[in-house]
């Protein structure tokens, strides 16, 4: 009953010649599910994603996000009724289900845990960021979200695609990458239990790096 709709769609696109091009096109385009209770922020994130050549579905709550993804809390069924989602970007502070709770539910789902989740928040609280990354979030963006933030996510997702087949533990490796190249992140080694790489906690230096902490220190020097 829990049919994997994604795989069957791919097979169909291979077999049916006439549909091949359009199916491939729709799969080349990254499909992002954006979750934010703020109408203004939804409009902005939607435009940011569209201008970055992403297909966007924007919803206003964690509950609706789960419904879209095919997990209905009450029915407890899993299925792919919607289009395949390549990335979920969610606000942290939302009434009802927070972005953190949504993240947990996604990572607890065998059908959905592979989908990268990015958290957005207006408050750059290090413990909050740590919590989210520990729970499996791929990245953390401090609001207000800018074009450069979204562009970076796109690059990041292309890398994900290439690595996906060889790299089941994608999250862990990305954290390792961050740790080894940014010795100033002294909080990271202590909070990540699964990573075995050691990072020397030297004095802080300015780092040109795609890390959440860098974004905290960021002013308007990029673009």
């Amino acid at each position: 009953m829990a049919r994997n709709g994604v795989i069957s769609r791919r097979i169909r696109s291979d077999k049916i010649e006439g549909f091949e091009i359009s199916a491939m096109d729709s799969q080349k385009e990254v499909h992002v599910l954006a979750v934010d209770d703020s109408l203004v922020d939804r409009k902005v994130i939607e435009r940011l994603l569209k201008i970055s050549s992403c297909k966007v579905t924007a919803v206003d709550s964690g509950r609706r996000a789960l419904q879209f993804l095919g997990i209905d809390e009450e029915k407890k069924t899993v299925g792919f009724d919607g289009l395949k989602v390549d990335l979920i970007i969610t606000d942290y502070c939302m009434p009802g289900m927070t972005g953190y709770e949504l993240l947990k539910k996604i990572k607890e789902s065998s059908a959905l845990r592979e989908i990268p989740v990015v958290i957005m928040s207006s408050e750059n609280i290090l413990t909050r960021i740590d919590r989210c990354l520990e729970e499996g979030a791929e990245d953390f963006i401090v609001k207000p979200v800018k074009l450069s933030d979204v562009k970076r996510l796109r690059d990041y997702m292309k890398r994900e695609d290439k690595n996906h087949s060889e790299n089941r533990g994608g999250t862990v490796n990305k954290r390792k990458l961050r740790e080894t190249s940014d010795p100033s992140l002294s909080t990271y080694p202590s909070s990540i239990s699964s990573s075995s790489s050691s990072s020397p906690s030297s004095s802080s230096s300015s780092v040109e790096l795609d890390s959440p902490t860098r974004r905290l220190k960021m002013t308007n020097t990029d673009l």
Binding site: S38, V40, K43, V44, S122, L147
Partner: protein
């Protein structure tokens, strides 16, 4: 043609003053990056959404602070929302006031909150008036078949 030039100069000067006075910040510039031929009115659309949302929030805040027993967590929730949306459109002064407002909510000081709300309302009204003037200028330029100068 001279008329269009005048309008464009007026637009540029007005825009510069908004930045100089801290009415708008970098995020306002960022919104303009999202505007193009396919979405020529994006900034106005977002700001209009912000206007509608703000009116709702200000009403909620007024109502919440008029209660005998003020629910400061509820008030803080509204201020948090207002801080977020003003930040997203680049309404710097409004956002900064919201930040101060949240501290007052934490202190649960009703009088101070009421005074702050008044300030927020004034600052918001100023933002609204100025942005509406800016959009009007843009329309005038477009109507005179000129192009709106880009912010740099």
């Amino acid at each position: 043609m001279a008329y269009v030039g005048q309008l464009q100069r007026k637009f540029m000067d007005y825009t510069k003053s908004l930045y100089r006075e801290g009415i708008v910040d970098e995020q306002f510039t960022q919104l303009h990056k999202l505007q193009d031929e396919s979405n020529p009115d994006f900034v106005e659309e977002v700001v209009t959404l912000f206007f509608n949302d703000s009116e709702r929030l200000l009403n909620e805040l007024t109502n919440a602070l008029e209660q005998q027993n003020v629910d400061f967590k509820k008030v803080d929730g509204y201020v948090h929302q207002f801080k977020g949306s003003s930040s997203s459109v680049g309404a710097q002064r409004v956002k900064d006031l919201c930040i101060a407002f949240r501290t007052l909510c934490e202190l649960e000081n009703k009088e101070a909150c009421l005074r702050c709300l008044q300030q927020v309302k004034l600052e918001y009204a100023s933002f609204q008036t100025k942005l509406e003037s800016l959009f009007k200028l843009e329309k005038q330029i477009a109507e005179a078949h000129g192009t709106v100068p880009t912010l740099d």
